[in-house]
């Protein structure tokens, strides 16, 4: 149990997917200008990440490893993820139009989001079992949502801040992200204190 708590905490804060692993930087910079869109993107990522990681994990363990064709990993994963995103989109449209309205516009963007493929591959290279995979993926997704939301709140204020002309827009956003990264990297001692 301790093991799982440590895994969850490190996935959420210490190895935060955006600030220390640099996955999903494109939506982090691109979609975080408004709070509502950051929230929508974050929820869509958690949703797709959980489904795609479960499917790719099962595919790897029961098909690729069983038939000894692990070198097909990259091709198999990306195709499964692309198909899955399409399927989720169609399914949501039919079953829950209101949810589709909220998440719909972010779903196509997710196929090229490296966070999804990245977490699917990380689950394999870290050798997680099924439960560890679920916990890790869930908390990585929560970490993504958390950082996106904080960052979008800062950026809403940043629009009115008097920054030098050359720094307007992306450069100042990157520097704010650096400060967030420093803060997150300092939580290292906390995990030893908790356990």
């Amino acid at each position: 149990m301790d093991n799982l708590i440590a895994l969850a905490f490190s996935a959420f804060i210490l190895q935060n997917i955006i600030l220390t692993q640099f996955l999903g930087i494109c939506p982090f910079i691109g979609v975080s200008t408004k709070r509502s869109s950051a929230l929508g993107m974050g929820l869509a990522v958690i949703f797709v990440m959980l489904i795609s990681s479960t499917v790719t994990w099962a595919l790897y363990t029961y098909v690729l490893e069983a038939f000894d064709i692990v070198y097909m990993r990259t091709i198999a994963f990306i195709l499964v993820i692309a198909a899955l995103v399409q399927m989720v989109e169609t399914f949501l449209k039919k079953v829950s139009p209101s949810l589709y309205k909220g998440l719909g516009i972010y779903l196509p963007l997710i196929t090229t989001n490296c966070a999804i493929l990245g977490v699917a591959v990380l689950n394999i290279t870290n050798g997680h079992n099924f439960v560890e995979m679920l916990v890790y993926t869930g908390f990585i997704g929560l970490g993504f949502l958390f950082v996106m939301y904080i960052f979008s709140m800062i950026r809403e204020k940043l629009d009115f801040a008097p920054v030098p002309k050359a720094f307007k827009g992306t450069p100042i956003a990157l520097i704010v992200a650096a400060i967030l990264a420093i803060i997150f990297s300092r939580f290292g001692g906390l995990i030893e204190w908790i356990l």
Binding site: F22, C26, Y71, F167
Partner: protein, 225 residues
């Protein structure tokens, strides 16, 4: 557009990192040392040039193009993923240290927006030769940008520049001369964001200034004429 313009646009006017802000994940992650940046550049050159060539050949064959058009994005992804798998296997076999230090970012070349973006925006509509030139220019633009960032980071963070394994340029005497230590924050994740932020701001400032100068010149010509 001449062939030279086609080649140079990837490096300057349409630089994928500094102008289009594409492919930021590998940019931030692999720039901890110059060696990693060089390895990533070679991998991207291989994948982008060949994917541009193959996709352009497919789309210029009339029969194949008709067949592929309705499902073109999945086809592009399969082509790119196959090339990335080839790179992954070659690196694993011959360059195991580089393979370990680039880690997850080798398979992630598949979802690098630069490669899919060039396939969709350029290679599918242009001749194979032009597509190859475009691929070389774009991947060199990407490579030079990440090398610039990694030089900045490794110099400030460690004081050395690693070109290949033990081939290093030791610049620590500059820090000794100034009586300070290298700032190891620049090797850490936060340093990646700061470096990219500052380099981007400098490039924006330079382009703004040259634009203003050009506008002034035009004004002078007009008032004289």
């Amino acid at each position: 557009m001449t062939k030279k313009e086609n080649f140079l646009k990837g490096i300057f006017s349409e630089n994928p990192i500094f102008v289009a802000l594409l492919g930021l994940c590998p940019t931030l992650a692999v720039t901890t040392s110059l060696e990693n940046a060089i390895g990533m550049t070679i991998a991207v050159i291989f994948v982008l040039v060949l994917s541009n060539l193959i996709i352009s050949l497919i789309m210029h064959n009339k029969m194949l193009a008709d067949l592929v058009k309705p499902v073109r994005i999945p086809v592009y992804i399969v082509v790119i993923a196959t090339l990335v798998t080839v790179v992954e296997m070659i690196m694993h076999a011959y360059l195991i240290e580089l393979y370990n230090s680039l880690g997850i970012f080798i398979p992630l070349i598949v979802v690098n927006c630069i490669i899919l973006g060039r396939a969709e925006a350029f290679a599918s509509e242009n001749k194979p030769i032009d597509s190859v030139i475009d691929g070389i220019g774009m991947s060199l633009g990407f490579g030079l940008a990440i090398m610039l960032i990694s030089i900045f980071r490794e110099f400030l963070g460690a004081g050395v520049l690693t070109i290949w394994k033990s081939l290093q340029i030791d610049l620590r005497f500059i820090f000794d001369f100034l009586m300070i230590e290298p700032i190891d924050m620049f090797i850490k994740p936060a340093g990646a964001f700061i470096s990219l932020g500052f380099i981007l701001a400098i490039i924006i400032a330079i382009t703004n200034r040259s634009k203003a100068r050009m506008a002034e010149k035009e004004k002078e010509v007009k008032s004289n004429g």
